[in-house]
């Protein structure tokens, strides 16, 4: 099935470039090893030969659209389910218009990657995926698939359910002592799209460059809060983290709280729907007031 999708993908990309409907197609190519892929930027029809569609295309390409905001022409981009939600998120945040991007949808049966012990495993980010098929697209290159285990969407929160306050702090703080503040999570995230991130702009001194428990904790909490209600739960942050921090726990916790408080919600699925924190109802819950 993957080979057929690769051929169809090449066909679509080649046609777009030959007819000059777009001047850039973003996809994936083989990386250092068979089981790694890297983003591929195709500008000429010949570049299309390097394109691959397989079970290793775990990268979300949505974030690259932020680097092409001022690009004159139209851009085509391959999107899996989670990537397409990232694109919807960017469009909702008015980073670019829907007309600027031509979406080539790739139905995704789950990604695989090589883990720390050199074993081939299912990508942790795919567990609990609720939208394996792209939610918006202009053309789709394969048959839609069923979500494998959508009931696992909040599974990662289960082991924290019964912890008491001190346990929560000590486990959380000790995890975040590993953070090296490389900002990979912030760069790869489609919801993190501020032109000038407060964590990067040192002149404002919202956060210092020091690496310690408090600064790391502040960074992670505030980033999680800034994307609250806008996180598409693609898991790219956790995948990019070089030290393996459980970043999705914070994001999933906020997503679950938002569902519990304000009703079922999934970011980046419905392009018309407002983010819950950018909206209100007169009869919202008022637990502690």
């Amino acid at each position: 099935m993957m080979n057929k999708m690769t051929d169809k993908a090449k066909e679509v990309a080649r046609e777009l470039l030959e007819k000059q409907e777009v001047d850039l197609v973003i996809g994936w190519e083989r990386g250092t090893f068979e089981d790694k892929t890297a983003p591929l930027f195709m500008k000429k029809p010949e570049d299309v030969e390097r394109l691959v569609i397989n079970e290793y295309i775990v990268n979300s390409l949505a974030t690259y659209m932020l680097h092409y905001k001022t690009h004159g022409g139209k851009i085509a981009i391959f999107v899996k389910g989670c990537d397409s939600r990232g694109i919807v998120r960017l469009i909702q945040d008015k980073q670019f218009t829907r007309e600027k991007v031509y979406l080539i949808g790739v139905p995704c049966s789950g990604m695989k990657e090589v883990n720390e012990n050199d074993e081939m495993v299912d990508s942790p980010k795919c567990d609990g995926c609720t939208h394996p098929n792209p939610v918006i697209y202009d053309v789709i290159i394969g048959e839609e698939v069923q979500p494998k285990n959508p009931e696992n969407r909040f599974k990662v929160l289960e082991d924290d359910l019964n912890k008491v306050v001190e346990e929560r702090w000590s486990s959380w703080a000790s995890e975040y002592n590993k953070c090296i503040r490389c900002y990979a999570c912030q760069r790869i995230c489609p919801a993190c799209n501020c032109r000038e991130c407060i964590f990067v702009d040192q002149s404002q001194e919202w956060i210092e460059r020091r690496v310690d428990e408090t600064e790391n904790g502040t960074y992670s909490l505030i980033r999680a809060y800034h994307i609250a209600g806008r996180c598409v739960e693609c898991g790219e942050c956790e995948r990019s983290c070089p030290v393996g921090l459980p970043i999705m726990k914070l994001n999933k916790r906020i997503a679950k709280d938002i569902e519990d408080l304000f009703g079922p919600y999934e970011a980046g699925v419905d392009i018309e729907q407002n983010s819950p924190l950018g909206d209100f109802k007169y009869d919202d819950p008022e637990e502690f007031m």
């Binding site: 929560r168 959380w172 703080a173 310690d212 408090t214 909490l221 609250a228 916790r253 819950p285 008022e286």
Partner: protein
């Protein structure tokens, strides 16, 4: 994993510890309420330090964390009652925001009593004082806050 906080000398010399609570009060209602508490001579502890903001909707959760970073033992966000916001809808956004943020803080292990939000109107001077006293007692019982506090 605990971190060695280098607490400034002057704090150690203070003697009996009293909590430092930062209160973000909206200008039109809760700040006026605090003012009324003062003019009506309702006593409340001086460890509640007030920061006046135009609206509770202006309060950015990062400010709350920064208060904890700089040594606050507790934070209060006080605004107008829903429906009475001077800017019509500011406190509705604040309500959603503070609910989500409060749960996030609890999730990472900050004691729930340390961050509180209240609706206090301009005429509720007594309510302001009562809340300030109650908050101060709750936080005094918890002790000084070291979580999210600047290491130095």
């Amino acid at each position: 994993m605990s971190v060695e906080h280098k607490i400034p000398e002057r704090e150690k010399q203070q003697g009996e510890w009293t909590p430092k609570i930062v209160g973000f009060c909206c200008n039109w209602c809760s700040y006026a309420g605090a003012d009324l508490a003062g003019t009506s001579r309702f006593q409340y502890p001086s460890n509640l330090r007030i920061i006046r903001v135009p609206c509770s909707g202006r309060v950015n959760p990062h400010m709350v964390i920064r208060a904890f970073q700089k040594g606050a033992d507790g934070v209060l966000v006080a605004g107008c009652h829903p429906g009475d916001c001077h800017y019509a809808t500011g406190n509705y956004y604040a309500r959603r925001r503070m609910l989500v943020f409060k749960r996030l803080l609890e999730y990472v292990g900050i004691e729930p009593e340390r961050f509180q939000a209240r609706w206090i109107s301009g005429s509720e001077g007594q309510k302001f004082a009562e809340n300030a006293i109650k908050l101060s007692e709750e936080i005094k019982a918890l002790g000084p806050n070291r979580k999210l506090r600047d290491v130095r």
